[in-house]
């Protein structure tokens, strides 16, 4: 049997990808009469919309309609969880890139040319463009939230050592290669079908209906595949789809809206940048006694998904470490910039960096090895409850740590690097290690549910549908493997169909790494229901016990004393049909055990934790600040992997994406709040040469999930992104070598050549004035 669970299987669309036959929305044939949309964006970051004038635009050749807020039949609000996030600004202008209007025309070029002709008058006001200003003005998109345990004030006061520090990390553009796109087709009675490149078809359905002022059952959202998502098509795809739907409804014609790269980058949210301040108290050995941290997120102009991002940052500030007295306060700062949103890790990456910074400083302060100081503070027996009250009852930290240290030959290379640095005044090398604990489940318990729909046809072929979206992560092949396993058939017998709100309703986004965990179980339930019916019928038909019926290798064996019989799976399916047995079933799953109090910030938000460890080696040039990752060794816990080939790809890809976040990817707004890095010529994601030339990636073996996950596998989408934190730590190590270990290093991310050079210069200055180290 081909493609059972726990085997390496290629992405189901791989051959279509390489031959160019995989269809993305922009590749679908357009029905006659299809119109194209182009958006009008604000070039002002903050102010009041005085007027818009569509006359000149409407008069342009090929223009069919110019739509503004007055043309939305329902509510002009595309907010995912909050409200007052208009599709087209009606009054307030909140960021440069905000959508004001949309031109719909016979051709894309006609639409774009006319969009230039929309006259906009805005009374500009002074924008808030950074976290510090927002904090000073108490400009928040939500009230601050706190995770608290013990008495950090008292513990800090009595701690033998205390250190304070501050640093910041930048945001990150998703840079999915396929830009945001939706294609809306009007049907009978005002029905709309929207093909959307979305991670959240149900939200597309809801928001389209909200803007159209119709029932949800009038809107069908369909998604075959995305050309990358990474969180950027969780909430942001919905407004793009809604704009297309409103235009299709208005004109009665199919409307395609594809955002050109620059518009996409100007208009859509990104990963939240954070500013941090913290105080850490510790003993002479380097054991952390208390942490008091402030995490201030740049939410951008609106709520979007910021509450979840801040909650995840706060619940990941502890990362792998036992911190008896703990306070982390999260601010969601309101700035006049793109409304920041989900991005792989969803606040987790911004949470885990704090302790990595603190432990480096502790090690430096005590003159100890930062690698040992980390392990000393790991969660362990008796020190196994998170600050938000979740017990850690499965812990692979030490295993991952040991594997990465052994595989990476940490001692030998440490000595080698120290020798290199002593001999080289210009180039410096550095080593960084990072342990990971990452919680799996949506922080909001109600989102942890999923549905699936499986049909078995009378030839034994199987159609599979579920609520998850395929964005390259290999969800479809994994779920097909699960269904194949249930029926013991070859995976070629299973046809996965496009995700659709008409087939499986009320779904959660494919996000938070949960795609397989949730939809996999739902599909298993659906398939197993059918299988049970088939078994029951076969037992009656052949007069045997159910236990005597065995599915194997595409066949069904009927064990009857003296007359064993074998049918193909298809023959049994046909037999069941003749016997009037339903061969179609839904399946449903909800994650057990989880609960969360969002006010107290306590509970068990995560079904389980995923673990990992990383070691990175870098080199920096102290003349230019240029850096390079020379080697990375990763170990990632995937439970008992459903598909090691897919999981390996997720780990490698996530790491490189995390490396980009922390190094070369820099978002830059000018003094007026306009994003000036709105394309790949100015915004630099890693290229092939940036991947560590030595890149050893291992799935933690023999580690089936302790919880009842689908076939004891674990989620893999997000956790390995954080393994790239080791690169940042390694860069700090290399920079520290400039001061011969006499000065602690502050390095803000992204560690561009400019920031690395600034850190080098700071260390040089301070090393000159530092007292000889004791």
């Amino acid at each position: 049997m081909k493609a059972a669970v726990h085997t390496a299987q290629r992405h189901d669309s791989a051959l279509k990808h390489v031959t160019g036959q995989a269809l993305y929305i922009d590749d679908m044939p357009e029905p006659p009469g299809t119109l194209h949309g182009a958006l009008v964006l604000s070039t002002i970051a903050c102010g009041r919309l005085v007027k818009t004038d569509f006359a000149a635009a409407s008069a342009m050749p090929g223009v069919v309609a110019v739509l503004g807020p007055q043309d939305i039949p329902g509510r002009n609000d595309v907010a995912a969880i909050g409200q007052n996030e208009p599709l087209f600004a009606a009054d307030r202008i909140e960021f440069a890139g905000q959508t004001l209007a949309m031109v719909v025309a016979e051709t894309l070029d006609a639409a774009r040319a006319a969009a230039e002709k929309v006259v906009v008058e805005i009374e500009a006001e002074e924008p808030i463009l950074d976290i510090a200003t927002a904090l000073a003005r108490k400009a928040y998109v939500q009230a601050p939230s706190t995770v608290l345990r013990g008495d950090p004030g008292a513990a800090m006061a009595s701690a033998p050592h205390r250190l304070e520090a501050a640093f910041s990390v930048g945001g990150q553009e998703h840079f999915y290669l396929e830009g945001q796109i939706a294609f809306a087709l009007p049907g009978e009675d005002g029905d709309i079908t929207v093909h959307s490149s979305t991670q959240h078809p149900t939200e597309v359905q809801h928001i389209c209906a909200r803007l159209l002022g119709c029932d949800f059952n009038r809107v069908t959202a369909v998604v075959r595949r995305l050309g990358g998502g990474f969180g950027g098509k969780e909430s942001n795809a919905s407004w793009v789809a809604a704009a297309a739907a409103v235009a299709a409804n208005h004109t009665g014609r199919p409307v395609k809206l594809r955002l050109p790269r620059e518009v996409d980058m100007m208009a859509t949210g990104k990963r939240h940048g954070f500013d941090y301040r913290y105080t850490v108290g510790f003993d002479d050995e380097g054991r952390v006694l208390a942490l008091d941290a402030v995490l201030a997120a740049d939410a951008g102009w609106s709520l979007d998904l910021t509450p979840g991002v801040v909650a995840r940052a706060l619940t990941h500030t502890d990362n792998a470490y036992w911190i008896p007295h703990f306070r982390a306060v999260g601010y969601a700062c309101r700035t006049n910039k793109q409304s920041n949103t989900a991005f792989r890790g969803f606040g987790g990456p911004q949470g885990v960096v704090i302790m990595e910074d603190a432990l480096d400083r502790i090690a430096f302060h005590l003159g100890r090895d930062p690698v040992e100081i980390r392990a000393l503070n790991f969660y362990a027996e008796g020190k196994d409850e998170t600050p938000y009250g979740q017990k850690i009852d499965e812990n692979h930290l030490l295993r991952c740590w040991a594997e990465v240290k052994t595989g990476g030959e940490v001692e030998r290379r440490r000595a080698e690097i120290d020798a290199f640095n002593a001999a080289n005044p210009v180039l410096k090398r550095g080593l960084g290690l990072f342990p990971l604990k990452f919680g799996i489940s949506f922080n909001l318990p109600h989102m942890n549910q999923a549905g699936a729909l499986v049909h078995v046809y009378t030839d034994g072929s199987i159609r599979l549908n579920h609520g998850g979206t395929e964005m390259g992560q290999g969800l479809f092949i994994k779920i097909a493997q699960i269904v194949a396993e249930v029926f013991k058939v070859d995976i070629d017998r299973i046809r996965a169909s496009a995700t659709s709100t008409a087939e499986v309703p009320n779904t959660s986004p494919t996000a938070a790494s949960t795609g397989t965990d949730l939809n996999g179980w739902a599909a298993w339930e659906a398939a197993n229901t059918i299988r049970q019916r088939m078994v029951a019928y076969a037992a009656g038909h052949f007069g045997v016990a159910e236990a005597d019926i065995e599915f194997a290798d595409g066949n069904v064996g009927i064990a009857k004393p003296g007359s064993n019989q074998v049918l193909s799976f298809g023959e049994l399916a046909r037999l069941c049909w003749l016997g009037r047995v339903s061969l179609s079933s839904t399946g449903y799953y909800k994650t057990p055990k989880i609960h969360w109090d969002p006010v107290a910030m306590r509970g068990r938000p995560f079904f389980y934790f995923s673990f990992g460890a990383a070691m990175a080696e870098v080199a920096i040039d102290t003349l230019t600040g240029e850096s390079r990752v020379l080697r990375a060794d990763l170990v990632q816990d995937c439970g008992e992997s459903l598909n090691p080939a897919i999981d390996l790809g997720q780990i490698e890809g996530a790491f490189v994406q995390g490396q980009g976040w922390l190094t070369c990817e820099e978002l830059w707004w000018d003094a007026k709040g306009r994003l000036r890095t709105a394309g790949p010529s100015t915004y630099k994601i890693p290229g092939s040469r940036d991947v560590p030339p030595v890149f050893n990636v291992k799935l933690l073996d023999n580690a089936p999930s302790r919880e009842a996950t689908i076939f004891r596998s674990k989620a893999v989408g997000e956790p390995p992104l954080m393994l790239a934190t080791a690169v940042w730590t390694a860069l700090k190590d290399a920079i520290g070598a400039v001061g011969n270990g006499k000065v602690a290093v502050r390095l803000d991310a992204p560690a561009t050549p400019e920031r690395v050079l600034a850190a080098v210069e700071r260390v040089r200055r301070e090393a000159r004035t530092a007292l000889p180290s004791t």
């Binding site: 390489v18 774009r112 897919i646 092939s688």
Partner: protein, 461 residues
């Protein structure tokens, strides 16, 4: 006399009608030909999702179809992902290798990578990492982390690939004009006559800059004069003491002569744009656009290059030093074009080095670029030409630093950089950073001269 664009697409001759010659090849493929395997990822030649292959001169050259105008395609042989086949009619071995290496995830960038890989395999590329990264530098993937793509490239490195079929289209011998707007002269005389007759027309060479008007800005030029078919503009000649490069010769064409004369250019040229850009972009274009951040001008300034400018009035030589007047302003007179760029080879005692500093090693625009020709005799610096890009409104020599270097040595030269330049703050770097890096690059130069074998760049580790 209506000329039609004719070219070979996936082995078939096509005659293009119903679109302007300013339509991009990508738009034509997708919207007019229905070939939608080739993708638009950025429409600015930076992501590679639109990569197709030009089959020319027995080679396969990857190019960005998003910034190529249909007029440029006339007479060419283009292969897209739909035109790939294996010997038995199934997938091409490159496609199979990519699939088998798990080198696809979301798949959107994949056809572009496949075409870059086909160009690589078809050129007999070696399996060493540097060659592979050079071949992939113009393609971005956001999913895989590249490791499996590089692995697929390694697998296809030794692939036996037939040379591309020769074009069946006879080369044009006479000038053509498409839509009365896209002029493609075949001789210098015709070019000069067209230039005089159409002073408003834009000169189109490789189009790696100009193409963005059509692709990203969606405001294609009204008239262009295409320079690439003028033999007098594409010639490359070398003598024992000079190198002369046709202004419309591509980077790919000029690289061997340049690297042979100035070996320090090998890594530098591999960082200029990407393979796709170097297959189209021309050295004259890089000068003619007069961008302050073009990569070639600092090099050419340091190398004491001069330009041959030609018009109906005649020919003149001008030092590149005198060519850049102000931001995007040049000494080019009306009706005049750059015909060739020439420079002396290094004299005895002369050494040449160059640097590029950017956020990403490959396919990035310089924050600061520096190039230096220094003559040393008997341990004494006798002459120095230090030129920088990204430091001023034009690429420029650091004359105060040059003087200080001759008089008082490197420390003085480093200090003098701040009097030479008043750079700007922008997304590529602050003014302070640029000044510091420019000065520090002179320190790197000093170390290079003192100890030529020493490893001084992270990329050589």
């Amino acid at each position: 006399m209506a000329d039609n664009i004719r070219f070979t697409l996936n082995d078939k001759t096509v005659e293009v009608s119903g679109v302007t010659p300013m339509t991009t090849l990508l738009d034509w493929l997708r919207d007019h030909r229905g070939l939608r395997g080739t993708k638009e990822g950025c429409a600015e030649g930076d992501c590679g999702a639109c990569t197709v292959v030009l089959e020319r001169d027995g080679r396969r050259d990857a190019i960005n179809s998003c910034i190529v105008l249909m007029g440029q395609v006339d007479g060419q042989s283009v292969r897209t992902v739909e035109g790939l086949r294996g010997a038995e009619g199934g997938p091409h071995p490159v496609q199979t290798a990519m699939a088998e290496a798990d080198a696809t995830q979301c798949g959107f960038c994949t056809p572009g990578f496949v075409m870059s890989a086909v160009a690589y395999a078809g050129s007999g590329g070696a399996a060493d990492p540097d060659t592979i990264h050079d071949a992939l530098a113009g393609n971005l993937c956001r999913c895989t982390g590249y490791r499996p793509i590089v692995e697929a490239m390694t697998r296809i490195a030794g692939l036996a690939v037939e040379p591309p079929p020769a074009s069946v289209l006879p080369p044009r011998t006479k000038s053509v004009a498409f839509d009365g707007a896209f002029f493609a002269p075949r001789s210098l005389d015709e070019l000069l006559a067209l230039r005089a007759a159409h002073p408003e027309a834009l000169l189109l060479s490789g189009g790696t800059d100009l193409g963005l008007l059509a692709s990203r800005a969606r405001t294609p030029p009204k008239q262009v004069i295409h320079l690439r078919h003028v033999p007098e503009l594409t010639a490359i000649s070398t003598t024992s003491d000079r190198i002369s490069l046709g202004a419309a010769a591509t980077y790919g064409d000029v690289a061997p002569a340049l690297i042979e004369a100035f070996p320090a250019l090998r890594p530098y040229l591999s960082r200029l744009g990407s393979r796709q850009i170097r297959n189209m972009g021309t050295i004259g274009g890089n000068i003619g656009t007069a961008s302050p951040i073009g990569d070639m001008p600092p090099v050419l300034l340091a190398l004491e290059a001069s330009l041959t400018l030609v018009s109906k009035r005649g020919t003149r030589e001008i030092l590149l030093d005198e060519f850049f007047l102000d931001y995007r302003k040049t000494a080019l007179a009306p009706g005049e074009i750059i015909q060739a760029i020439s420079m002396p080879r290094l004299w005895e005692g002369e050494t040449f080095h160059c640097d590029k500093v950017s956020k990403r090693r490959d396919q990035d625009i310089s924050t600061v670029a520096g190039a230096y020709r220094v003559r040393i005799r008997n341990g004494r610096i006798e002459d120095a030409r230090l030129a920088f890009g990204g430091m001023a409104a034009t690429p420029r020599r650091a004359r105060a630093a040059e003087a200080a270097l001759l008089k008082d040595g490197f420390a003085a030269a480093m200090a003098a950089v701040a009097t030479d330049f008043k750079p700007v703050d922008d997304w590529r770097g602050s003014a302070a950073y640029r000044l510091q890096v420019a000065a520090n690059l002179l320190r790197r130069l000093e170390l290079r001269i003192a100890d030529p074998g020493r490893v001084l760049e992270v990329e050589t580790l």
